[in-house]
């Protein structure tokens, strides 16, 4: 008897809590729902996206918000699992009634959410997934790419490497979608720029491979002129350590996408190998412009570290959300999308445009080589070449052919 009494009191208070909960007034805020991986190694990248986003939103709200409304955001941890990510996106859209979705580093999740937002007609800004299917083959009106993808990175690097006088190439990488996609795109474009180049061999290892030494000795035995290494995540550091230990970087020049990025170089300190070629969308010390320096100073003040590439993606996503609604004139999803198409905004790396044809942000790509620098206690990129977006991005015609969904 007593038990059931307490139970009913508990139930009643639960209902009370439910109704008392401050349901956010849709009229006064613009709600952004962020689904991303906040557990596991991927957080090296995703925390920067979130921090960059927070920084920009804080500034926008301090100035009175957009259309008199504050930008409000909620995050969900998808734990790098597509099924969880999709469930969270559904919850954010159907229950929390968010106006916009953002995320995620997991390509499979991004593609699943993309399918869902197409049905629900909610804009979705993709901030770190590298699959080129997101704006390519599976692209549609409601999805936007705010970062480079494997196709773009591969092309940019292929163009830069192809100009060099290398002949014999070797491809090595993580044996899954991202690895093959990057490697094939680099190699295809090297061949286009330098038709005489030949591939003398390739090696593929399992994702998460810890010891690269056996692979390196094998590659060295074949004496290639240049090695394209397509690995990601913690493999970046593992491979560079093995390269340093074997002197690989001195014997055969090699390329890794994001090799020059702070996420890869900062953890290794002074012990990272010199002479590794890499590409990245963002470097906090380059270009040395007032806009970039101001962004770095602001980020460093807020979080006491240098911004990595994700910070730029998050920061710009917030800017585009604010400016998009401003241009739309009211919080309306369809008008927001129309406003965003073709919109260009100033960023730490110059003016960035969202292309109308494929909803992809046009970003510059930096190609450089790792080098010690007395100013920092870790290696940075030297001999940086800027490859503007228009030089390496697939054209709108190509994108239209790739897309299954016709606008």
């Amino acid at each position: 008897m007593k038990k059931s009494k307490w139970f009913s009191i508990f139930l009643v208070s639960l209902f009370g809590l439910f109704f008392m909960c401050p349901t956010s007034n849709a009229a006064n805020t613009i709600k952004v729902g962020i689904v991303d991986t906040y557990t596991g190694p991927a957080t090296t990248y995703t925390n920067d996206v979130l921090d960059g986003f927070k920084l920009a939103v804080g500034k926008i709200n301090a100035k009175g918000g957009v259309l008199g409304k504050k930008i409000e955001f909620t995050t969900r941890d998808e734990k790098f699992k597509p099924d969880i990510g999709l469930a969270m996106a559904k919850e954010l859209v159907l229950k929390e009634k968010v106006d916009i979705l953002m995320g995620t580093i997991n390509s499979a999740t991004a593609l699943a959410i993309s399918d869902f937002v197409k049905k629900e007609k909610v804009p979705f800004l993709v901030t770190f997934s590298k699959s080129d299917k997101i704006v390519g083959e599976k692209g549609h009106r409601y999805v936007f790419g705010m970062n480079e993808n494997a196709l773009m990175a591969g092309r940019a690097a292929g163009i830069a490497i192809g100009k060099k006088p290398y002949m014999k190439y070797w491809i090595a990488g993580d044996d899954y979608e991202y690895g093959h996609s990057i490697a094939n795109n680099v190699w295809e474009n090297v061949q286009k720029v330098n038709p005489k180049s030949i591939l003398i061999g390739q090696s593929w290892w399992k994702v998460g491979e810890a010891d690269f030494t056996p692979y390196i000795t094998q590659i060295l035995a074949a004496k290639p002129d240049f090695v394209i290494v397509a690995t990601g995540g913690s493999g970046m550091v593992n491979f560079q350590k093995a390269a340093q230990a074997t002197g690989f970087n001195k014997k055969a020049p090699f390329f890794q996408h994001t090799a020059i990025e702070a996420s890869t170089l900062v953890p290794q300190g002074q012990n990272a190998p010199e002479g590794v070629y890499g590409t990245a969308n963002y470097l906090f010390y380059y270009p040395d412009t007032p806009a970039n320096n101001a962004f770095v100073a602001e980020f460093k003040k807020a979080y006491n570290r240098f911004p990595k590439v994700g910070a730029l993606y998050g920061y710009m996503a917030a800017q585009f959300i604010a400016e998009g609604f401003k241009k739309a004139g009211k919080v309306d999803k369809e008008r927001f999308i129309n406003a965003l198409e073709g919109m260009a905004l100033d960023s730490p790396v110059g003016k960035l445009e969202v292309r109308k044809c494929d909803h992809q942000l046009v970003l510059p790509m930096y190609y450089g080589v790792t080098k010690k620098n007395p100013k920092y206690d870790f290696l940075i990129a030297a001999d940086i070449e800027t490859i503007p977006g228009k030089d390496y991005m697939p054209t709108c015609d190509e994108m239209r052919k790739m897309r299954k969904y016709k606008q």
């Binding site: 030494t213 094998q218 350590k241 290794q268």
Partner: protein, 287 residues
């Protein structure tokens, strides 16, 4: 030839970790899934110790001693606090418990060390490489690993076969009631064996740290390999662990040489071949 030596140095780490796993499996009958987590904790502790002492050589040598001891302490707490109550339960229960513990350890590591990659520098003495056979470079650090491996193997053999605790634990593995009946505190014998096994996991973690990025999730890859090694070697057999690690490490490095595109398949193919012909593992298992 160089490839064989590279394979051997990888074998050393696999052997150290899986011999610990095998020891625990043989004496305590615990399929300890959390073993990989202890290896990861060892690597993270090595990072911290090395960093506190300026990231130089001193830091590395102190980490080599300190981190395994730290891991031993963690494992002692886990054994006294949790595992000792479950020795009599079914294997499935133990498996679930150790799996749960591995998840908890994973989260603890995240809370203590955060999610960024960590890197332990190779000590100055072992930086660089030598040209052992012809022109192919062989990292000095791997040479050091080849030196450490036999020391651990012989040391472990001495402990298990020549010391009192080794003899008692071997007896306890066969008949724990009888050992208890002659007046030995079996519970503490088990604790000591467990701690020694985990110490080996920690040692493996420290030794691997300079060659890889220390990161969350490094436990998962290793634990699968370690279990496969223990299975092909014969459950609970230390020499089996050595043999298993040799097969695993060598087929991998030679596989890469033979058919680089599918190098990863070879160790697993070797496991299948072994199990087809000797389902109980190569050496006599204590199970």
């Amino acid at each position: 030839m160089s490839q064989i030596f590279v394979g051997l140095s990888r074998t050393v780490i696999l052997f150290i970790v899986s011999s610990g796993l095998s020891l625990i499996l043989g004496v305590l009958r615990i399929p300890n899934v959390a073993h990989g987590s202890l290896y990861m904790i060892g690597a993270f502790m090595a990072f911290t110790i090395s960093k506190v002492f300026g990231g130089g050589d001193l830091g590395f040598w102190l980490a080599l001693i300190g981190a395994p001891l730290g891991v031993a302490l963690v494992s002692l707490i886990a054994e006294r606090g949790l595992f000792q109550y479950l020795y009599e339960r079914e294997h499935l229960m133990l498996l679930l418990l150790t799996f749960a513990v591995s998840l908890v350890f994973g989260d603890l590591v995240k809370i203590v060390w955060g999610t960024e990659y960590k890197s332990v520098p190779v000590p100055h003495v072992f930086q660089g490489f030598v040209n052992l056979f012809g022109e192919l470079p062989f990292p000095l650090y791997n040479l050091f690993l080849l030196f450490v491996g036999p020391i651990v193997a012989v040391g472990l053999w001495l402990i298990v076969n020549k010391t009192k605790i080794g003899k008692i634990s071997r007896a306890a593995a066969v008949d724990r009631e009888m050992v208890g009946a002659v007046g030995i505190n079996v519970s503490w014998v088990f604790a000591i064996v467990f701690v020694i096994g985990c110490l080996l996991a920690g040692l493996g973690g420290v030794l691997v740290a300079p060659t890889v990025s220390v990161t969350l999730g490094m436990d998962h890859t290793l634990i699968i390999e370690a279990f496969l090694i223990v299975i092909i070697g014969g459950l609970g057999s230390i020499w089996g662990a050595l043999l298993g690690a040799l097969i695993f490490g060598l087929t991998q490095s030679l596989g890469i040489l033979v058919w680089s595109q599918f190098g990863i398949v070879f160790p697993y193919a070797a496991v299948i071949v072994v199990l087809l012909f000797r389902p109980t593992g190569l050496l006599k298992s204590t199970w």
